[in-house]
Symmetry: C2
Subunit: 311 residues, 2 copies
Amino acid sequence: MSITVVGSIAFDAVETPFGQRDRMLGGAATHFALAASVLDQVRIVGPVGDDFGDEEMAILQTRGSNVDDVERVAGGRTFFWKGKYGWDLNTRDTLDTQLNVFEHFQPKLSEDSQNADVLFLANIQPGLQLQVREQCEAARFVALDSMNLWIDIARDELLDIIGRVDCLVLNDEELRQLTEKPNLISAAHAVLEWGPSMVVAKQGEYGSALITADDFFALPAYPLHQVVDPTGAGDTFAGGFVGFIAKHIDQLHDHEVLRNAMAYGTALASFNVEQFGTEGLQDIEASAVRERVDDLWRFARFERMEVALVD
Amino acid sequence: MSITVVGSIAFDAVETPFGQRDRMLGGAATHFALAASVLDQVRIVGPVGDDFGDEEMAILQTRGSNVDDVERVAGGRTFFWKGKYGWDLNTRDTLDTQLNVFEHFQPKLSEDSQNADVLFLANIQPGLQLQVREQCEAARFVALDSMNLWIDIARDELLDIIGRVDCLVLNDEELRQLTEKPNLISAAHAVLEWGPSMVVAKQGEYGSALITADDFFALPAYPLHQVVDPTGAGDTFAGGFVGFIAKHIDQLHDHEVLRNAMAYGTALASFNVEQFGTEGLQDIEASAVRERVDDLWRFARFERMEVALVD
């Protein structure tokens, strides 16, 4: 099985209370691939500029991810994002966004990328997501991320592409904005009416929730004493989630597959936020990932005890 | 076993996107007692005014809660709070607070209330909480709630009382404010250094987390399609949590007791927020509570699946 991801490959400048980096590899496709590659073969689709070096390309190729469809745009510059986080890391200000090579990006997938069983449409312009979706007719599972910007300025296109995916992964406040429903469960069920069979609400430090027509599941974020840089946590989560599903594509409708997928996404995201940029995921050990999934298994369960109640 | 709760008994005026009430029974002790009484015998301590009627007193006495220590202050008026919630219920503005009979409240507990095994110090002035704590020397489990106001204006007294309880129950942002630690886990561990053996972080619609020196547990809020009025959700949660512990006071250090306590608190809080004020808890059925605890049991667990990982 293989997973195709299309999305941003970026240079990020990030300032958090724990330090800053002026230029490091980032982007949604990057973070996704670093996580998904722990589980399965990944093919990355996206543009980079002349300023994108061999060192960065080598990081993209971690654990064998394929970069044949990473398009080098001659004379172009790589997507750039600069942001600063507040003291508890729950707020962030975007200080600069330079689309650069993304401005005129027209995704052209190789045959191998088109034939992937699993497709992740990371957060980019919904029209581009639709173009990629149409090139991947064979995909058996397609997940989509987006953001408030597209809800504001490209709502119709976003609804189009949502109608053509199996899973919407979105921040919980954006789910409310998208559906204009203040309640998370109502908002998720509204999305299920539009086509997807599942919705994952990303809730930042509170973890994530999975909503299907007949099931609900929630996991806390992995408890850490220090979070250094949350950038890319959502995409890392998506990489673990989608990666686990890719490995179990024939059991897609088994709730336990989806729940384990949530646990792998959560565990991998915890490594991402412990260090800046891609540092946390580059050299990750399988045993460390398993240990955190085991921890989550313990942190999230209780055994029912009988108790007399007063009516 | 019995539980003594000291805290506000109030009239609330509440406006939410789903309606409004100009005057209904509220207050931390009220919501706590309505929940804890599902599990155990409750004794309520707090002042009310001349305006407090027999109908309200009857609600306090739901499921046999004892009101011998509810002090009627002649010529006084009952505590009053008025608030308005935003569209997603995650923000609220306090429009009016009238301390009234609470301004000169000096708690004097009857012998029976002093002898309770379990004590809940709901959110009131920390000095008053300390006075009550000193009257209940026999208590085997004491839990405490507070709020940002006391962190701001009575920090030393608050630290005093925190050092004399077993459990601090606090909103997660207030935990950060109290400890000046931006990270929830670090904040909770700072509190554990001060004396309590456990910290419960209330996280609103995201649920709650339990932190002890050697354990972590988190539960989502019960998923509801509509929340009507979140007022008192935290106190209702505390009532279920403390009530379950009171029923298992000899197994206090069993993690499963604490986890089930979290589940009962979460389930009871979900009934509270479905209706205005005390409506959701007044006529609750034991079978309905058990059903929601069973649901939470399912919503929060996964069974580990083996998967090959790439190092």
